[in-house]
């Protein structure tokens, strides 16, 4: 049988009632709290027993204290005098247990009890939750900006969706703690005035644990959904972040062991937090990943290469849904076909290129973007966005400008499509089309030499319709 176990704490910081109950239940099951720390709470096997636990806060204490202060120790002595032995402490939180049957509680005055919780909250817990909230809001704002610039691209990237989900869940967790605390404090203050009693706290541990598991599950699903080499990068990056966080904790713990003062430790730790991530990201991502990129690890595998004017050119052999051969008669065999893109649970967006070799540039090329909408609800949104971005005017807004591109709706029936648009520059119709089919939208930009016959249009309709 296991002698020790670790539990992800994830307790709401002011939830002294919930923590006490949790620890008492653990004791009844034969688990005695040994140590609380940032890495989870450690329990030791013991005879199942009814033990009383008490969670109190000592506002003066800090997570950077090299050792408990004299005041803190004299507080512990007082508690021990009434049978309350210290089980463990971490920063302000002090956890005691008592084996007596009806012990005098540590807190017998709700007013002072509330005051100490408020002091501790203001000194550290709330500060860290506000900071975390600021970080998440910043990340979410960045996500919104990315979404606004390229909504279709954003929705088709699992990584964007995953990070949006993570940050929103983290924000929800922070807000739960902050709003929960303030509403509890309001009720507690009122209750003391009216009844003189302490208001039991209620935490969000189960919801938060569920959030953590959901994030982990989605991360796993995300890793399996992307290519293995990108998954490797994602795993390595997460490991690096984890190692970095442990290194920062370790550094602070080392300073504590060296009996460095709390103030110096706090300053040094803040500096490390500010510098280390940048240094590590800089070194790792520029040097190492840069090297990996250069080594071609991320490059698509070429079918073969050839030399042209002293340079090496790659020929790819990706399968494309639509080929030049579907549009015109050709017996040219030197095409390079490549298919790049992203896919999420909402959309997939791929760019297809079919190019002749450099020494055969007279052969026509074909390029297009294909967006597949997996959720019908998003279709009209994607349609509007792609239509908006279809003409390339690079910020030119005056419509009478002779090179001003505009999308003109054309007859979709010969394409077998629901909607069809073509780019016009003045009266000149360009060889660029936006074709909307049942669940996909095709932005087709073939070589101007490819004249799309009725048969070619029908072929396109057969492939995508």
């Amino acid at each position: 049988m296991r002698k020790t176990k670790r539990v992800i704490a994830q307790f709401t910081f002011y939830d002294r009632t919930g923590i006490q109950k949790f620890l008492e239940r653990q004791a009844e099951k034969g688990w005695m709290l040994e140590k609380i720390s940032s890495y989870g709470w450690k329990f030791r096997r013991m005879e199942p027993e009814k033990i009383h636990y008490a969670v109190t806060y000592f506002p003066e204490a800090s997570m950077f204290d090299p050792e408990p202060t004299e005041n803190q120790k004299s507080f512990w002595d007082l508690c021990e005098h009434t049978g309350w032995k210290l089980a463990s402490h971490n920063a302000q939180m002090q956890i005691f247990y008592n084996e007596r049957e009806n012990p005098v509680p540590i807190e017998t005055d709700p007013q002072t009890e509330l005051e100490t919780i408020e002091k501790s909250a203001n000194k550290s817990y709330l500060v860290s939750y506000w900071l975390l909230t600021a970080c998440t809001v910043l990340q979410i704002a960045l996500g919104i900006w990315q979404f606004a610039t390229d909504p279709v691209g954003y929705l088709s990237r699992s990584s964007s969706l995953f990070s949006a989900l993570c940050w929103s869940m983290l924000l929800a967790m922070c807000l739960m703690e902050i709003i929960g605390y303030f509403s509890w404090r309001k009720r507690a203050r009122k209750a003391i005035e009216e009844t003189g009693e302490f208001t039991a706290t209620k935490g969000f541990r189960n919801i938060q644990l569920a959030f953590l598991w959901i994030i982990l599950a989605i991360f796993a699903a995300f890793l399996f959904s992307i290519e293995r080499r990108f998954a490797a990068v994602a795993v390595i990056s997460s490991l690096v972040v984890g190692i970095m966080a442990s290194a920062i904790w370790g550094f602070s713990a080392l300073l504590k062991k060296l009996k460095v003062s709390a103030k110096a430790n706090r300053i040094a730790t803040i500096i490390i937090i500010a510098v280390l991530p940048f240094a590590v990201t800089g070194i790792l991502f520029i040097k190492i990943l840069g090297g990996v990129f250069e080594s071609g690890w991320f490059d698509k595998e070429a079918a073969y290469t050839y030399e042209y004017k002293g340079m090496e050119w790659k020929v790819y052999d990706d399968e494309l849904p639509l080929m030049v051969e579907d549009l015109i008669e050709t017996d040219y065999k030197g095409y390079s076909t490549s298919w790049y893109g992203d896919e999420s649970i909402l959309l997939s967006k791929h760019d297809a290129y079919q190019r002749p070799r450099m020494d055969d540039l007279k052969e026509p090329y074909l390029q297009y973007t294909l967006v597949k909408v997996k959720i019908p609800f998003l279709y009209s949104f994607v349609h509007n966005q792609m239509l908006r971005d279809f003409p390339h005017n690079y910020g030119v807004t005056y419509e009478d400008y002779e090179f001003y591109e505009r999308a003109v709706e054309i007859d979709p029936t010969e394409w077998g499509a629901d909607y069809a648009y073509q780019i016009y520059m003045g009266d000149y119709a360009e060889n660029e089309f936006l074709l909307c089919y049942n669940d996909c939208i095709l932005e087709l930009r073939p070589d101007f030499e490819i004249e799309l016959t009725e048969q070619a249009k029908k072929n396109i309709g057969n492939i995508f319709g």
């Binding site: 109190t56 507080f75 007082l78 309350w84 005098v104 807190e107 005055d109």
Partner: protein
């Protein structure tokens, strides 16, 4: 936290101050208060620690000896004043009770 709540004393504050008419260690107070009140009033160790801090801040008590983590205290004139004021209030309360409950019963 300097507070205005020392307008009146709670029972626990009252007995801590009363107890400190003699010099005592913090721990002694934990035993003395229940003994003085026949177990009617108990002061928890956390509450005691915080109240002693607040009393010191307000000048209600003095710290007499600090031997490492063992500290002893004694009441200060300002604390005596607080106690007296509280007793006056309680006396008035009792007098009111006698006057009014007696009349109503009659």
């Amino acid at each position: 936290m300097p507070r205005t709540k020392f307008q009146t004393l709670t029972e626990q504050m009252f007995y801590i101050l009363l107890c400190l008419k003699n010099e005592y260690y913090g721990m002694d107070i934990l035993d003395r208060v229940p003994a003085m009140t026949n177990g009617r009033v108990n002061v928890g160790s956390g509450t005691l620690y915080n109240l002693l801090e607040q009393f010191l801040e307000e000048g209600f008590i003095y710290e007499t000896k600090v031997e490492g983590r063992r500290r002893s205290y004694i009441i200060a004139p300002k604390g005596e004043e607080m106690l007296d004021k509280e007793v006056e209030r309680l006396k008035a309360q009792l007098a009111d009770y006698n006057t009014f409950s007696g009349r109503e019963e009659a």
